[in-house]
């Protein structure tokens, strides 16, 4: 199953957050499954309309996802997904 890892910055709001394995075929499904494990976390990652927040980045197997609106980038059986925050302020 794909593994999901999170930026340390989210530990402030979810102290127990840790690596996950979820059965997902695309990034949108990953986000929905993450929400099941950590209720409320989805709203930290996507906006009211479900698009990735401007300063959140998601990498799948080392590449930044291309579809930030619908989150349809594919996730494969052995994919590694990293949920990160964009750097700001130097």
């Amino acid at each position: 199953m794909p593994t999901i890892q999170f930026t340390y910055a989210l530990k402030r709001f979810y102290p127990g957050i840790d690596k996950l394995e979820v059965q997902a075929a695309n990034v949108g499904e990953v986000v929905d499954l993450v929400e099941q494990h950590y209720p409320g976390l989805k709203a930290y990652l996507v906006d009211d309309q479900g698009s990735l927040r401007k300063h959140v980045n998601i990498f799948v197997d080392g590449s930044l996802i291309k579809d930030r609106i619908e989150l349809m980038d594919a996730v494969h059986e052995n994919s590694e997904v990293y949920i990160m925050q964009a750097l700001s302020g130097g």
Partner: protein, 362 residues
Amino acid sequence: MSKNLLFLSTRKGLILYRKSSDSWNYHSTHFPGIPVTLSYIDKQTDTWWACLDHGHWGIKLHKSIDQGNNWEEVEAPKYPEGLEVKEGVPAINKYIWAFTNGGSAQNEKLLIGTIPGGLFSSMDNGKSFQLNEALWNHPSRKEHWFGGGFDHPGIHSIVVDPRDSNHYYIGISCAGVFETKDNGQNWIVRNQGLRADFLPDPYTEVGHDPHLLLACPAVPEVMWQQNHCGVFRSTDGAKTWEDVSQKEGPANFGFTIAVHEKNPEQAWVIPGISDVIRTPIDQSLVVCRTSDGGKNWEEQRNGLPQKTSFDIVYRHALDISGNTLAFGTTTGNLFLSENLGDHWTCINHYLPMVHAVRFAQV
């Protein structure tokens, strides 16, 4: 009983001061390092609210039912799926700019104003929120509302009539003042007498920029606003507005205003030079008070910096409780007066940028 707590919503957290004997002292910091845009102490439900703007992670709403010992995040109001501010611009809650209880007749009702222009209500003390569709679908919104300082319009003021919870006003930058008499089902534009010097037609029906809208709590038909284009007052519940700016003096451009709780003739503003030069006039910080409904203004400088001040006071960053006024500034100063502004004391020079200041009794 006079209020004994001061809530400072700042760029680096929610900072509380407490009055003990004769002095105001630092009490506690909540959400350290996180921008807090607004806080609200709901006497009806004994709930403290804090509105956060994480930047990376979006806006968040937290509440405490044990006076700040513990905070719980609740889901912030969200715009329904598919809604657009304008064609091609998705509606996303960017900022909570106004927060109030809906009135004593409906204890658990909350009203929340946001950027990009949506008004939300909750009937269950924040467990769920509903967008006010009548306002969102107002025929003026898409064509005549626009952002002032922000990319999109926002509701920064909600004034609930203390005699009737179904009757309230909102202030929108930029659109103007809107009134409802039926709990938000219908909205009446209340901009008559205002002036929008930044538009080709300054007397347009919609498109005005009230920076902050208030009513005198004891005489709520007397309303005041610090507008982008001056200070305006209404004595007929916003049906008509009169320009009460000081023509040759400082009481003109600014963001904030305070109104005496019992005396509808008395109000305070804290001016800047103009919209294009947002600093105090002559680098001298001044509070202007009127005690005759805006006919005359007196300058209150005692205790305020008079040579090298760059302080601007945001719209929610001035509050009054009895004879006590307090304001926080963009450069992190907190000033307080116990005598209606006759003399000011600097409580702290070293705060973060102050977004909002509120007194409370605990």
